[in-house]
C-alpha cells in the first residue's frame, strides 16, 4: 500500500482539520494516523493517508488540497511517504 503524507502548516484557526478531513472523506481517502502540534501559535499537522480507494489522480488531490489550504490561510502539502522513509530510515 502506498501511503501519502499530508502536512498542514499555518496560523491556527477554527475548522482546519474539519475542512481537510471532509475533502478526504469525499474523495474516499482513508486517514491512517493524525498527529498535531501547535508551536508559537502555528498549527502543525501531519496525516498519514491511504489513497488506494480514491479514483482521483494524485496530482489532482495535491493541487485541490493546496487550493483548500489557500482558502483557509494554511499551507497544505501532499507527498508520497517514500521521501521521508528514505531520508529518515536505514
Amino acid at each position: 500500500m502506498k501511503k501519502t503524507i499530508i502536512t498542514v502548516v499555518g496560523k491556527d484557526t477554527v475548522g482546519i482539520i474539519a475542512k481537510v478531513c471532509t475533502y478526504l472523506a469525499n474523495n474516499r481517502i482513508n486517514i491512517l494516523d493524525i498527529s498535531q502540534t501547535i508551536v508559537n501559535g502555528y498549527f502543525n499537522m501531519m496525516m498519514v493517508a491511504d489513497m488506494n480507494e480514491s479514483s482521483k489522480p494524485f496530482n489532482d488531490v495535491a493541487s485541490e488540497l493546496a487550493q483548500i489550504g489557500e482558502e483557509i490561510g494554511v499551507v497544505i502539502h501532499c507527498q508520497r511517504e517514500e521521501i521521508f522513509e528514505s531520508m529518515h530510515r536505514i
Binding site: 496530482n59 507527498q79 531520508m87
Partner: protein, 450 residues
C-alpha cells in the same frame, strides 16, 4: 512510522534550505546512429534522442509533484560526438550540423541542456577529433542547449599538450563568437563516463544503451547543519556533515530509482556533489564560512574544503547503491553567491582556487577572466589544472570564460543557474614558449609515491 518532526525536517530542507535534486540526466548511446552520410546521421541522432527521451521531462515533473522535491534540471548526455560523427563529418562545418541536430532534439524533448559534443583526446587526436574541436566555437554560438567537453589528459596516458594548446585558442574563439559559449565548454583530465552534471556530461563508451544518472545537491542543508556545530570540535563537525550528506543522498537515490522504474531505463549512478546555485543560501562558500572562515579563500580554505568533500563522500556512499560521476563539492565562482562575494572582496584568487581543486571536484569552474587574456595563458592555466588531475589520479576540469572587452573588477552576467561573475586577475607572465612545445607530457610514474 514516520513522525511529524521528521516530516517537518525534510520539508524545511526543501522549503527553506534549497534542498533539491539538481539533475536527472539520461545518458543515451548514439553508437548505433553511425552512418556514412551526414544527413542520415543527423536524422538517426534526432530520432533516437526524441524516442528514448520522450518521457524524460514529464516523468521528472511527475516525480517532483508526488514527492514534493524539486528536480531542477532534466538533461541528456550522449556518446562523444567525435566518435559518432567520425565517418560522416569531414570538416568542422559538418560537425556544426550535428550540433544543430542535437539542439533540435533537445528542444523537442524539453530538456535544459544536452552534453556530449565531446572529444576524448588524452593521448592524441584523430582528424575527426580535430575537426570537432575546431567546430566548437561555431557550434556553441549557433546552438542553445548543446554543451561541449574535451578530455585532454589522464593519469594513464599523460597530457596531450597539442590539444591543450588548441583548447586555449578554442576557448578564446568561443568567447569571441558568443558571451555564453565558454560557459558551455569544459576541458577535462580523467573525465568520468557517467557524469550527470553540465557542461561536462557525456555518455561514455563503457556505458549501456541508455542509463539514468542523478546529481544531488544541498549546500544550503549542509550549511544549516554546520551552523549548529559552532564552537564544537572537528569530530562533531565531520559527523554532522556526514549525516546530512546521507539524508540528502537518500533523496537522490529514491528519485533515481523511481525515474529508472518509470522510464524503464537502467539506473546508473548517483553523483554525490554539493552543487551550488546563485540563490542566496545555496552556496558551498557559505559552508566554508560557517565552519569559521571570514571568506572562502582565506587561509584554511583548502583544509576546510578537503574536510567537507571527504565527509560528503563518506555520508553519501552509504546512502546510495551506486555512486559515480564527479562526486564532491563543486566550487564554481559565478554559480555561487558566496564565491562571488569572496572574489569581489579580494579574498579569492585563481591561484587559491587552483589549490582548492586539489582536494575537491572538479576544477577551475565558471571563472571570468579579462577578455584580452592570451590563448597561451589560457592554455597554461589548463595545463596546470590537467597536471593536478593527472598526478593526483582525480578528475579536474577547466571552464574559463574570457569576457570580451572586460577588465579585472568588471562583472559579467550569464543569467539563470550560470549566475554572474567578477572578472578575476590572471597572472600576466608569459608561458608561450612552454606551451608552444609540441607533443605530450608523459604519464606520471605510478610507483615510488613518497
Amino acid at each position: 512510522m514516520i513522525n511529524i518532526f521528521e516530516v517537518n525536517e525534510t520539508n524545511k530542507m526543501i522549503e527553506e534550505q534549497n534542498l533539491d535534486v539538481r539533475t536527472i540526466t539520461l545518458g543515451i548511446s548514439l553508437l548505433d546512429c553511425v552512418s556514412d552520410d551526414l544527413d542520415t546521421l543527423c536524422d538517426n541522432i534526432y530520432n533516437k534522442i526524441t524516442t528514448v527521451a520522450k518521457d524524460l521531462v514529464s516523468t521528472g515533473k511527475a516525480i517532483e509533484l508526488e514527492f514534493g522535491i524539486p528536480i531542477v534540471n532534466k538533461r541528456i548526455s550522449v556518446t562523444p560526438i567525435a566518435l559518432v560523427g567520425a565517418r560522416a563529418a569531414k570538416c568542422p562545418e559538418d560537425f556544426v550540423k550535428i550540433a544543430e541536430a542535437l539542439d533540435r532534439a533537445a528542444k523537442k524533448v524539453g530538456v535544459n541542456f544536452l552534453g556530449g559534443y565531446s572529444a576524448l583526446v588524452s593521448k592524441g587526436m584523430t582528424p575527426a577529433d580535430k575537426a570537432l574541436i575546431k567546430s566548437i566555437p561555431q557550434a556553441l554560438a549557433t546552438t542553445d542547449l548543446v554543451c561541449s567537453s574535451v578530455n585532454v589528459g589522464s593519469t594513464k596516458c599523460g597530457i596531450d599538450m597539442d590539444a591543450v594548446r588548441l583548447m586555449g585558442r578554442i576557448i578564446k574563439e568561443t568567447s569571441e563568437k558568443s558571451d555564453i559559449g565558454p560557459a558551455k565548454l569544459v576541458v577535462f583530465c580523467n573525465a568520468p563516463d557517467d557524469n550527470p552534471f553540465m557542461a561536462g556530461a557525456f555518455h561514455g563508451v563503457t556505458e549501456g544503451d541508455a542509463v539514468i544518472n542523478v546529481g544531488v545537491s544541498g549546500p544550503g542543508v549542509v550549511k544549516r547543519a554546520v551552523a549548529g556545530t559552532k564552537g564544537q570540535g572537528f569530530e562533531q563537525l565531520c559527523e554532522t556533515i556526514k549525516k546530512t550528506a546521507f539524508k540528502v543522498t537518500r533523496v537522490g537515490q529514491l528519485v533515481a530509482k523511481e525515474a529508472s522504474t518509470r522510464l524503464n531505463i537502467p539506473f546508473g549512478i548517483v553523483d554525490l556533489s554539493l552543487a551550488p546555485t546563485p540563490a542566496v543560501g545555496d552556496s558551498v562558500a557559505d559552508i566554508l564560512c560557517e565552519m569559521g572562515l571570514e571568506y572562502a579563500g582565506a587561509p584554511g580554505t583548502t583544509a576546510a574544503l578537503a574536510l567537507l568533500n571527504d565527509q560528503v563522500k563518506k555520508g553519501g556512499v552509504m546512502a546510495s547503491s551506486y555512486v559515480g560521476g564527479l562526486s564532491g563539492a563543486f566550487i564554481p565562482v559565478s554559480e555561487d553567491q558566496g564565491m562571488i562575494d569572496a572574489a569581489s572582496a579580494g579574498a579569492l584568487t585563481i591561484e587559491k582556487l587552483e589549490a582548492m581543486t586539489c582536494v575537491c571536484s572538479v576544477g577551475l569552474d565558471m571563472i571570468a577572466i579579462p577578455g584580452d587574456t592570451s590563448e597561451f595563458t589560457i592554455a597554461g592555466i589548463i595545463a596546470d589544472e590537467m597536471a593536478i588531475g593527472m598526478v593526483n589520479q582525480k578528475t579536474t576540469a577547466v571552464r574559463l570564460c574570457p569576457a570580451k572587452g572586460k577588465k579585472v573588477g568588471d562583472t559579467v552576467e550569464y543569467g539563470g543557474l550560470l549566475g554572474h561573475a567578477p572578472v578575476m586577475a590572471v597572472n600576466g607572465f608569459s608561458c608561450e614558449e612552454f606551451i608552444s612545445r609540441k607533443g605530450r607530457i608523459p604519464a606520471p610514474i605510478h610507483s615510488f609515491k613518497n
